[in-house]
Symmetry: D3
C-alpha cells in the first residue's frame, strides 16, 4: 500500500513578545532586540500540518482533510487566533513564544490525535513569508 | 513625457486591538468581535506605496526607488514595525487602528514628502493575504 | 470624510466548459479549443470584491469585513463552490461561463446588497494565477 | 560528486468528482461531501516533480530541465490538462481521483523514464493553495 | 454591453545595467548605484497586459486569451527573454532600460495590435516581487 | 531537547550565462540553448538556508535569525547581488553557474560557519518561481 504525506495549511493572527522571565528588561532587549518590546507586536502565522500514512483502498484518502482541518482548528488554531501568545493560552504557559517553541507545542497538541494508521509527520510554522521552522517530533 | 506609476512594497509586523474609547468593553466586543481582545493580537502588514509622475529623460526614473524606500521606512515603517499600534505611535494617537484608518494616516505621513514633479497616488495596506484597503487621498 | 476601498478575497472550486448552444460541437472546439471539452474541466477561482465608501468615524470601518464575507459567501460562493457552472447555478443559466461573464453576473448578485453609504466598486475574478478579469459595473 | 535535487513545477486544470463505484450515491455523499457532486467540480493543480542525482561535471546539470519539462508534459500534463480525471484518462481508470491517488499514478508514469544516473525522488501535487500531497515511491 | 478588463501575466528573464551614455562611469555609479555594474545583473520580470472592451455576446470573450498571449509573446517576450536589454533588442536601442522605460516601450509595441473593439488599457511590469511599474499610455 | 529546523529566505538579482569553457560556441548553444546567450541574461534568485539544532532552553532559539541573516548576507548575498556570476565572484571561478553548482558552492561558503551545536542542513535556491534545486551536503 503506497505511503503518502498530506498537508493542510491554516492561519492565525496573534500578538506576542520574546522575553525570558529569568532576564532583566535590559538583558531581554539585548537578546531579543525589537521582539522584546514590552507593548507586544504580532504576526500572521501560517501553519502547515503534515500527516503520513497508507492510502485507504476504498476512499483513496490517507485521512479525511476536513477531519484534519477540524482537529487542528479545535486543538490549536481556535486557541491562538486573535490571542496573545504570552497571556491567553494555557498550554503555552511558561514558554518563550519563539517560532521554535510554538512548533514543538503545536506538535504535542496534535500527535496523539491523528487517527491510525496515519501519523503526524511534520509541523511547519511560518512567522513571516521569509522565516519558518519545522519540527518532526525528534 | 509619459506618466508612469511606480510601486514599492514594504512590510512591518505589529500588535493592535480594535476598540473605541467611547464604547464599553461589551460594546467593543459586539462591534469588533475577536479583534477587540484586550490582550491584543497582531499581523504581518504589507504596505504598497505608489508614486506617479513623468519619466525623467536622463535617468529613466519617475523617482529613485531607494529614495522612496528610505522615505517610507523613515516616516512610516520604522515607527510601526514591532510596535503596538494603539500604544507606541504618536501619529496614531486617538485613532482606532483599523486598516482603513492606518492607510489614511500613512498617506498623510507621506503625501507632502514626495519630490516634485512626482506625486503620491495610492497607499495599499494588506492586513492579511485575504484582506486589504486602498486610499488615494480623496 | 476620507473615501477608502476595502477588498476581501474568497475562493471556490468549480467545473465548467465553454460552449455556445448556438454552435456545433466542431465550431465550439474551433472557438474555445480545449475549454470546450464535453466532459468538462475546472479551476480554483479566486474572487476579490472591492467596496468603496467613507470611513465611519466611530468604528473606523468602511464596512464590517465579516459582513462582506458573509454576503459574498451567501449570494455567490455557496452557489458556485464544488459546482458545475453550466449545470448547477440558476443565475448562470444560458450564460457561457467565461471569466468575463462570471464577473458580470457576480457583480449583479452583489451590487444592490452593499449597505449604504458604501458601494460596490470592483469585482476581480482569477481563473488561474496567470489570468484574471475585472468588472466595475460599467 | 555532490548529489543535488532539482524540481520543476507545472500546472494543469481539470474536472473530477470523488465517488467510489462500490458505494451508493448517498454513501458517496456522506464520505466525500461536496466533492461527490455528480455534476463534477474542478481545480487548478500544481505539480512539482523532483529528480535527484549527481551533478554532471561538464554541464553542471543533474538533468536538463527542458527534458524534464518535456517528459512530464508528454507523459502526464498533456493527458490531464482540461480533461475530466474520472472519464478522459486511460491510466486513471478505476481510480477514485483523490489527490493521493493522482500523486501515486503520476509517480508510476514517470519513475522509469528519468535518465540515469538521476532518479525520481518526489512528486508533490497541490489541489488548492492550502492542500497538497507528497509521494516518494515508498 | 458590459465593459470588462482582462489581464494575462507572462514572464521573461533578462540581463541589463542602468547607465546613461551621457554620463561618466563614476556619475553612473552615483546615480544608479549597484544597478550600474558594468558586468550587468538581471531579473525575472513578470509582465501583465490588460485589455478592456465589451464582452462579445456569442463567445463571452473580450478577446481570446490565447490570441493575447501569442501577440505579447510574438511582439515582446520572444525579443526579451534570455536577452540583454541593453545590447540585444532593436526596439530598446538608446533607452536606459529602467522598469519605467521598459513599460512604455512595451506599451508602444502592443497598443496598435489589439483587435477592435478592445483596446490596450494597462501594462504592469514587475522587476522584483517588491517593485513594479504601471503605464496606461498617458 | 527537541531538534528543530529553522529557515531564512533571502534574495539576490544577478546576471549569468551557461557555457563550458571546454565547448565551442556552437556546442554551448546546443547544450544550454538560450541560456548560453553570450550577452548574458539574469534572474531574481531566492535563497533558503536551513539550520537544524536543539532549541536553547533559555532563549527558545535554535540560532538567532538575525545572526543567520547577517552570516548569509556577509558570505554569500553581498558577493552575488547585482553581480555577474561568471565574472565578478572569486569563489565561483571556473564553475558553470547552473543552479546546481551555485547551491553546492553556497553550501561550502556556509557550512563551517554555523555556530554549534546547530548545523547547516539544507540550501534551496530558486532560479525562477517554477524551478529550484536543493543541496544537503551529500
Amino acid at each position: 500500500m503506497p505511503k503518502v504525506r498530506i498537508t493542510r495549511r491554516l492561519h492565525f493572527s496573534a500578538a506576542h513578545r520574546l522575553a525570558s522571565p529569568d532576564l532583566s528588561d535590559e538583558e531581554n532587549r539585548r537578546v531579543f532586540g525589537d521582539c522584546a518590546n514590552p507593548n507586544w507586536h504580532g504576526h500572521n502565522y501560517e501553519l502547515e500540518v503534515t500527516v503520513a500514512g497508507p492510502v485507504d483502498s476504498e476512499t483513496g484518502y490517507v485521512m479525511d482533510l476536513k477531519d484534519l482541518k477540524d482537529l487542528v482548528n479545535g486543538r490549536v488554531v481556535d486557541d491562538l487566533d486573535h490571542r496573545n501568545l504570552n497571556l491567553d493560552v494555557p498550554w503555552l504557559e511558561g514558554v518563550v513564544p519563539t517560532t521554535e517553541n510554538l512548533a514543538v507545542r503545536i506538535w504535542e497538541r496534535l500527535a496523539a490525535h491523528i487517527p491510525e494508521p496515519a501519523t503526524l509527520e511534520r509541523v511547519v510554522l511560518w512567522e513571516t513569508p521569509r522565516h519558518w521552522v519545522e519540527y518532526r517530533g525528534e
